[in-house]
């Protein structure tokens, strides 16, 4: 019922607009708790204080992949169900996902220099995340170059579905290939291998960044709906004048 209600753009705006400031407030509170926890957390016995970079790097990686996951579901919504908000969601999620993927790459490099002795290696995990970032840039460029939003949506949806192949490659790259990047330490069948003193701030920061992602996505979707209204009005005006 709620999903059906949200399918109408006007109804979506009525629900999303008042929710955005509340979500923003929750995000600020979550970050205040997360940053406090991060500052107070002890150094890792191997990584030392650089473990604090993980409180940014892991959420960046998670949200980079979540962004593409959202776009993949939206692509199916565009191509299969023709959901009215699907391409709005996909277009709004692309720059946000790209930004978090960029954050993941930069913070990973800054962690790698003191820990591995290098900013970058062409290892399977790092390369597949770089490919994800380039895919994001490609989709953003596609949205910008095709003028008609419905044509752009279909093209972007196809690229998104093809690009979704990269998600399992990123996830399992550390198991399929011999990589410098360590294997999974949070989402494991036998539970996390991280000490709770570091795991708790990591999870709180991941939650805070996820709330930020949701807030930004709703706000960007609202902007996109307004942009489409302006476009429609412009076309209506042109047809009246013409």
């Amino acid at each position: 019922m709620a999903a059906a209600n949200l399918a109408n753009p006007s109804r979506f705006l009525k629900i999303a607009s008042p929710a955005i400031p509340w979500l923003g407030g929750l995000t600020v509170i979550a970050f205040a708790v997360g940053i406090t926890e991060a500052v107070l957390s002890p150094d890792d016995y191997q990584q030392g204080a650089t473990v604090k970079i993980m409180f940014l790097h892991v959420p960046g990686a998670w949200l980079g992949m979540l962004g593409w996951g959202v776009m993949t579901v939206a692509a199916l919504g565009t191509l299969v169900w023709r959901h009215p908000l699907a391409d709005v969601t996909a277009k709004a999620a692309a720059p946000i996902g790209a930004a978090f993927t960029f954050m993941c790459l930069v913070t990973g490099s800054l962690w790698g220099r003191p820990m591995w002795g290098t900013y970058w290696v062409w290892d399977a995990r790092l390369t597949s995340v770089l490919v994800l970032f380039l895919l994001y840039l490609g989709v953003i460029a596609l949205w910008r170059t095709v003028d008609d939003p419905s044509r752009a949506a279909r093209a972007a949806a196809i690229v998104t579905l093809v690009g979704a192949v990269d998600l399992p490659i990123i996830k399992f790259s550390v198991e399929w290939w011999n990589t410098l990047h360590q294997s999974a330490s949070v989402f494991r069948m036998d539970g996390p291998t991280i000490d709770p003193s570091i795991l708790v701030p990591l999870l709180v920061m991941t939650g805070a960044f996820t709330l930020l992602f949701i807030t930004l996505l709703l706000a960007a979707m609202r902007n996109e709906l307004l942009r489409r209204r302006v476009r429609t009005l412009r076309l209506m005006q042109a047809s009246v004048v013409g």
């Binding site: 204080a49 302006v230 209506m236």
Partner: protein, 64 residues
């Protein structure tokens, strides 16, 4: 000495993340302001002209 060296990387990472987050928030807020201003402009213009005898915002809502 090693801790001091590592501090540079930690500060740089937090600075980069803050820049990314600030950039995203600024992008969303400025875009919202720009689109709202354009919509308000159309609204005021259409009130004066009465385009096609229909409330354009309502019609655009249906089209969006």
């Amino acid at each position: 000495m090693e801790d001091a060296n590592h501090l540079v990387f930690i500060v740089a990472a937090y600075g980069a993340a803050a820049a990314v987050v600030a950039g995203l928030i600024a992008w969303v807020m400025l875009d919202y302001r720009a689109q709202s201003a354009k919509l308000a402009q159309f609204e005021s213009r259409s009130v004066v002209r009465g385009i096609a005898g229909r409330a354009p915002i309502q019609e655009a809502n249906e089209d969006a």
